[in-house]
Amino acid sequence: MRLRGLLWCSAILPLLPVALSASATVEGRVELPKSHSAPVQAKRYQIVTKGGVLSTQPPLAVVYLDGSFPQPVSLPMKQVTQKNLTFVPALLPVRVGTKVEFPSLDDTYHNIFSYSPAKRFDLGRYRPDERPIPSQVFDKPGLVTLRCDIHEHMRGLILVLNTPYFMMTDTSGHFRLSGLPAGHYTLKAWIDSTTTREKPVDLKNGQTLNVDFP
């Protein structure tokens, strides 16, 4: 754990000077699809498929600033855990080039694989004590559907983005992206596997822009 903590620190430190010196902020709200199920804990959500469309339940959106940004030398490692035969988190936005580990907390075999165009991989069958923890580097932007060959119902999503500026809204759709570089960009809101909204934004240093996605 200490090691992981150190890694975290080393990943965040290079970003800090930019954020502090000159940065813009975007905040607002994404109109999320109505959830028909009873509200649950914000942290516990899962991927559902409706008519071939994958989305989170309860609905969440990923808001990100699209653009061309210099690729960093290294990126912090991310994790998608298998717990109680679900992926946690069910939806993980990562920057291109991120390595994601798939540790298992279930006392059973899992076989994580993906046939998605953005990333095809097959981790094979492994148990929780498998070391090193099976992992994949996601080097192509796009949506990756995670599946388990053994547990057909399991679904997870990894949204691979070209940008370091992204965040998940809360369940009511509110977001706040800060430390953004000034300039003309497109702000996008990923809502489900087939719906991504976008708005052009003109960011100025020290300014906070309010953008709502209807």
Partner: protein, 590 residues
């Protein structure tokens, strides 16, 4: 043999011929009817047998299909549940679909191909393909792994849309060329576990079902007709093509009929062809199971039966001939007898008629003779009487001669009376006597005759009682009525005894007048026919007559429509009764 016998025998023979002809017609009709019915039954039976055979064939086919379907459905459901299949389809990784399924379906394709006779029993697939969401075939990256298939054959696997249920189809493996095999394909939908939608379909191809050789001894050919082409390997190519045309026509004419049969000629031999839709309601092109059965067996059976029934008919006819012969004999015996009897009757009648004619002739002759004789007699008697009367007129004879002459004269009078009677009788016998009926006063007539009677010289001493009213009228001719009364009264006097009695009574009732004349006399013995002509008393006496009187009186009474009869003759009393028809409405009714 004489002519009537010959004619009679001819009649009997013709009767027999007619009877036999009738029986022959009936037997022939029955035989024909029997043949017709038997033929129909045999044909129907044969068709039913073949139909049953066909159904059995189909049901075994059906069983196998069920087995395959169930197995494949399970397999596909399992397959559809596989994450990798889903992933491949849903995540647009079609290239990974076949490799993913390869593992799952490996056992289906693996292993040695079983020998043809066991192909039906195994689930050994020869190929499989997936359909995409439009129903088109997904191209396999490595056809070797999924069973190679010609481009045309592969195209036949495509459906217009993804099926919701299992679909059976038949594809020609080498389409367009004869002798190419037919593969049975089963399309099974793959449902998304997430959405429940049909996301794809698995199409598995099998070696076509080879109908087992039946052990029922029925030589049968079976095949499949699909896409307008018949696949019946045991048939020559040319026959296959022409038969295919016929099936196409039959199917086109009755598109709603899933099954039917019709007769065809293959190589000049009659056959019964059954067809049945193998994949009703399928999205694949319609395919039909075809079974062709030779009808030679049933034809032979029919032929045999024809012979049997024909033979039975002939036997029946023969039996009928014998029976009709016997029956004719039996029947003709009475007919013969009848004919004989009638012949005898006729002869008898002819004889009787001849005798009757002779009798009539003789009678007529005798009547004529007696009439002639009477006339011939009358003239000499008249001459005689006139002579005696002239002699009596002379006065120069001795008194005893006068007495003698008067006696002779009396005899000539009697002779004249007899001749008159005979003349009258002969006229009656000849039927020449006509009665001119007028009312005649019978009472007056009787009185006159009684007066005359009393005046007669030789009247015996008899007492006469009269009991009749005056003015009794009868219908008749006075002359003859008078003759009747005279006869009876004369008899009553003549046959009386001295000191005897005569009683004359008469009365009228509604229709007739009854006159009764009784007298004391000797009893007439019973059985003595006193009314017979020229009757003579059995006991000779002085008072015997010439035996015509009573006969004449009765004939006259009958001629008048009346009757004369002897009422009684006993205890010194003899009584006669005459009934005259009464004159209309003039008599006092007693």
């Amino acid at each position: 043999m004489n002519a009537p016998d010959q004619a009679r025998d001819k009649d009997v023979a013709s009767f027999r011929t007619r009877l036999f002809t009738a029986m022959m017609i009936i037997v022939a009709a029955l035989t024909i009817l029997g043949l017709y019915l038997a033929q129909r039954k045999v044909a129907a039976d044969a068709e039913r047998n073949l139909q049953e055979n066909f159904q059995a064939e189909l049901s075994s086919l059906h069983e196998l299909e069920q087995l395959r379907h169930a197995t494949l459905a399970d397999r596909c459901n399992a397959l559809a549940a596989k994450s990798r299949i889903h992933a491949a389809i849903e995540d647009n990784a079609i290239d990974l679909l076949y490799p993913s399924a390869n593992d799952e379906l490996r056992d289906l394709m693996e292993g040695e191909e079983p020998p043809p006779e066991q192909a039906a029993q195994s689930l050994h697939a020869t190929f499989y393909r997936f359909l995409d969401d439009t129903g088109a075939v997904l191209k396999p990256p490595n056809p070797k792994e999924v069973g190679q298939l010609g481009r045309k054959a592969e195209a036949q696997l495509s459906l217009t849309k993804l099926p919701e249920t299992q679909q059976i189809g038949y594809v020609q493996e080498n389409a367009g060329t004869h002798g190419g095999g037919v593969a049975e394909v089963l399309a099974v939908p793959i449902f998304s576990t997430d959405t429940g939608d049909v996301i794809s379909a698995l199409v598995v191809g099998f070696k076509p079902f080879q109908p087992r050789q039946t052990d029922a001894g029925v030589e049968m050919k079976s095949g499949i007709w699909v896409n307008g082409q018949l696949h019946l390997p045991s048939l020559p190519k040319s026959e296959e093509a022409s038969l295919s045309e016929k099936i196409a026509t039959a199917v086109r004419q009755l598109p709603d009929r899933a099954e039917n049969n019709f007769r065809v000629n293959i190589d000049g031999a009659p056959q019964l062809l059954f067809y049945k839709r193998l994949n009703p309601g399928s999205l694949f092109p319609p395919a039909y199971e075809i079974c062709v059965y030779p009808l030679a067996d049933s034809k032979a059976q029919l032929q045999r039966l024809r012979w049997q029934i024909g033979g039975a008919g002939a036997l029946l006819l023969l039996g009928g001939f014998v029976a009709s012969h016997l029956v004719a004999l039996t029947f003709s015996a009475p007919v013969k007898k009848l004919a004989l009897d009638s012949e005898q009757n006729r002869a008898q009648r002819q004889r009787a008629e001849a005798a009757l004619a002779t009798t009539a002739d003789e009678l007529e002759r005798s009547t004529r003779y007696s009439a002639d004789a009477s006339h011939q007699l009358k003239s000499p008697v008249t001459v005689l009487r006139v002579g005696i009367e002239s002699l009596l007129g002379r006065e120069d004879f001795k008194p005893e001669i006068y007495e003698e002459l008067s006696g002779l004269l009396h005899q000539t009078h009697r002779l004249t009376g007899v001749i008159d009677d005979l003349l009258l009788l002969s006229r009656m016998d000849a039927g020449h006597l006509q009665i001119a009926s007028t009312p005649v006063n019978l009472s007056q007539l009787i009185d006159e005759w009684l007066d005359d009677l009393g005046a007669l010289p030789d009247s015996p001493d008899v007492k006469i009682d009269k009991e009749f009213p005056v003015g009794l009228y009868v219908a008749g001719e006075r002359q003859y009525t008078s003759l009747i009364v005279q006869n009876l009264l004369e008899n009553a006097r003549k046959y009386n005894r001295p000191g005897g009695r005569i009683r004359v009574s008469a009365h009228a009732n509604a229709a007739e007048v009854v006159l009764t004349i009784g007298n004391t006399s000797r009893t007439i013995p019973p059985g003595e026919n006193i009314f017979e002509r020229f009757h003579h008393n059995s006991t000779p006496s002085a008072a015997s007559g010439h035996g015509i009187g009573l006969n004449l009186a009765r004939e006259l009474a009958r001629l008048h429509g009346g009757e004369l009869r002897l009422v009684r003759s006993e205890n010194d009393w003899t009584e006669f009764e005459v009934r005259f028809p009464a004159a209309d409405g003039v008599n006092p009714v007693a």
